[in-house]
């Protein structure tokens, strides 16, 4: 079974974790200013890269804390894990939606 290194608890079996989708999707500054297309982009559309992907995970059977991880979607290797309060990883998704989300987050 694959081991995932929780930033707090260290390596644990993957069944102790749950997946939380793409990381760094910022809530819109002003949701009412978004049209349906932009809202749909925010709610439903995520990157699907082949390679490193910044994701959210929760150590649900352990410390129950959310954290971010950079995982390679081809090899399933966790390239890094980090407490959400720490700096974001240098490599993130390169698809347009990610850049859009990054721009939103940077503008907060």
């Amino acid at each position: 079974m694959q081991l995932i290194a929780c930033p707090w608890c260290g390596e644990r079996e993957e069944i102790e974790f749950h997946y939380g989708g793409q990381a760094h999707i910022a809530y819109p500054d002003d949701p009412y200013a978004l049209d349906d297309e932009q809202w749909a982009q925010y709610v439903f559309f995520r990157d699907n890269p082949k390679g490193p992907f910044a994701e959210r995970w929760v150590h649900s059977a352990g410390c129950r804390r959310w954290f971010n991880a950079l995982r390679d979607t081809v090899t399933h290797e966790f390239l890094s894990v980090h407490d959400n309060r720490a700096e974001r990883p240098s490599r993130t998704g390169t698809a347009p939606a990610a850049q859009h989300a990054e721009g939103q987050e940077a503008g907060r």
């Binding site: 707090w8 608890c9 260290g10 644990r12 079996e13 069944i15 102790e16 410390c63």
Partner: protein, 204 residues
């Protein structure tokens, strides 16, 4: 009109006979009704200091339990601890802690009914637990004072390795999982029972 006090019963009351059939290397007993309080506070904050001063303890770091005293402190998350004390202490502790915290930011919540506690001791403890626990329970990796919230036979538990009892382990388990976990423990011990020759714990 007489109002009867509702009877308390622990999730594993009535299991003593079955625990008594365990192999000699493993003793199991339930410690029912322990006071359990969830403390949420930012480590290093004024409120955390107030709690430490109030209880005369140091909030332990990740994966550690404070040395057992009047109140045992278990790390359950980066800003969360479980305070464990004898039965009946919740009102006193809640009042003292809340007054010590004052207007600072922390919460203390009585969760005593959430879990029951199993006290395991004897030379077989780590061997038996290893059959359902993915973590390395070797004393070199998991020494006394370790506090691990994990899965044991798929059931969520907090596993505390105690300092004062050699190879003593406490399992805090949710009340609704307690009988399942007790059943699993009995089954996991089957091969160590000398009197059954490897047959089931009930002799079948």
């Amino acid at each position: 009109m007489t109002v009867e006090t509702p009877a308390r019963f622990s999730p594993l009351s009535g299991w003593q006979d079955r625990f008594a059939q365990l192999p000699t290397g493993l003793r199991v007993r339930e410690l029912p009704f322990l006071t359990q309080l969830t403390l949420r506070v930012e480590p290093g904050s004024a409120a955390a200091k107030a709690v430490e001063d109030c209880l005369g303890i140091i909030l332990p770091g990740p994966l550690r339990a404070g040395s057992p005293g009047d109140v045992e402190v278990l790390w359950t998350g980066p800003d969360e601890w479980l305070l464990v004390a004898p039965d009946g202490r919740q009102d006193d502790l809640l009042a003292r802690l809340r007054s010590a915290i004052g207007d600072d930011f922390a919460t203390v919540t009585d969760v005593s009914a959430q879990r029951t506690t199993l006290a395991l001791s004897g030379p077989l403890v780590r061997t038996v637990l290893a059959q359902g626990c993915a973590l390395d329970l070797d004393p070199r990796v998991t020494p006394a004072g370790s506090c691990l919230t994990t899965l044991l036979a798929q059931a969520p538990v907090t596993l505390v390795v105690r300092e004062e009892e050699p190879s003593g382990v406490r399992l805090l388990v949710r009340s609704s999982f307690a009988s399942y976990l007790a059943t699993w423990l009995l089954d996991a011990c089957t091969e160590y029972r000398s009197d059954t020759g490897g047959r089931g714990w009930d002799g079948r």
